[in-house]
């Protein structure tokens, strides 16, 4: 997981060695230093993620990537949100969620606090009929 709260002890699980997908319509390749390169995916990210979710395997973590995140949120493809709420009021800047007329309920899964003042908040979307 990319949360920083659970540092992988097994180096085989370290971020360097996890398979990576980079969504881009301009990149031809996506090298990752001395580590295996990331796979570049062109075209519709939603369709690609749907295809990957249909396959066997473990979780996928979306790291940063605001515009990609907004596209996947809007397509209702996010199964969990992991927020690290930093102890600062900043009334401005770009926002994570796409600004559209959508109200959504969430289910709180986990909350942890850290000495730094960071609050880790984990939610799942509460989907209609779920």
């Amino acid at each position: 997981l990319a949360n920083g709260d659970r540092r992988p002890r097994d180096h085989r699980r370290s971020p360097e060695l996890l398979p990576k997908l980079v969504f881009s319509n301009t990149l031809g390749e996506a090298p990752w230093g001395e580590w295996p390169a990331a796979r570049v995916v062109h075209g519709d990210p939603g369709a690609a993620i749907k295809g990957l979710k249909d396959q066997d395997g473990k979780h996928m973590v979306l790291w940063g990537s605001l515009s990609l995140a907004q596209e996947l949120i809007a397509a209702d493809l996010i199964d969990e949100y992991h927020f690290q709420l930093c102890p600062t009021l900043v009334g401005g800047g770009r926002t994570l969620f796409p600004t559209r007329e959508s109200y959504a309920r969430l289910q709180r899964v986990n909350v942890q606090t850290y000495d730094t003042g960071v609050v880790f908040l984990q939610y799942e979307p509460l989907r209609a009929g779920a």
Partner: protein, 195 residues
């Protein structure tokens, strides 16, 4: 010397104004968090309100005095002393309210001096923005409901940055999380100078 607290309910993304029409479950009010919220108001000395929030609350709470679930809360809300910041209203005000007259920083510092316990500022409008900017806020109490409302305005747009210290996090079975913060000692650039 009393402490001034800003108390606000919001969605996970910081939205604090209800969607229209208001969906079921917008800002969850479960019995447990409601009780904690009531106790906050029971031990507080007074509320501090901007004119718009004052008019909104004063129109609603007196009607809820006989409500089976919110009646106790309404009794406290209705009987509490209130201080209202406004450029247009004139004393006497209804709903046990007193006008904050003259310069805001001076009048708010005055009521902090004259009270020993907590003054709860409710709302997220012009008044609370000014109180934060002037460095007069001692604590923030945020009630985070498990919901998203990305199209709504977000709390404290245009404010800060203000560095905070986390002083409490309480989870309720309903999914509500109460987060309490205090401005960090080195909270921001140019603090305390007023404006």
């Amino acid at each position: 010397m009393g402490r001034l607290v800003i108390n606000n309910a919001m969605a996970v993304n910081g939205a604090f104004e209800a969607p229209v029409p208001e969906p079921d479950g917008w800002l969850v009010l479960d019995a447990d968090s409601n009780q904690v919220s009531l106790e906050q108001f029971l031990v507080a000395d007074a509320m501090v309100l901007g004119r718009k929030t004052y008019e909104g609350l004063a129109a609603v709470w007196p009607q809820l005095a006989d409500d089976p679930t919110l009646g106790l809360f309404a009794d406290r809300m209705n009987s509490m002393p209130k201080y209202v910041a406004s450029r247009t209203l004139r004393d006497p005000l209804e709903w046990n309210a007193t006008l904050l007259e003259g310069d805001l920083a001076t009048s708010v510092t005055g009521i902090k001096d004259s009270h020993d316990r907590t003054l709860v500022a409710v709302g997220a409008g012009e008044l609370t923005h000014a109180l934060i900017d002037m460095g007069l806020v001692d604590e923030f109490w945020f009630w985070v409901s498990p919901s998203l409302w990305p199209a709504g305005p977000r709390i404290f747009d245009g404010v800060g940055p203000v560095r905070l210290d986390l002083i409490g996090a309480t989870t309720f079975g309903s999914g509500v999380v109460r987060l309490a913060y205090r401005p960090a000692p080195d909270r921001q650039e140019g603090t305390g100078s007023g404006r």
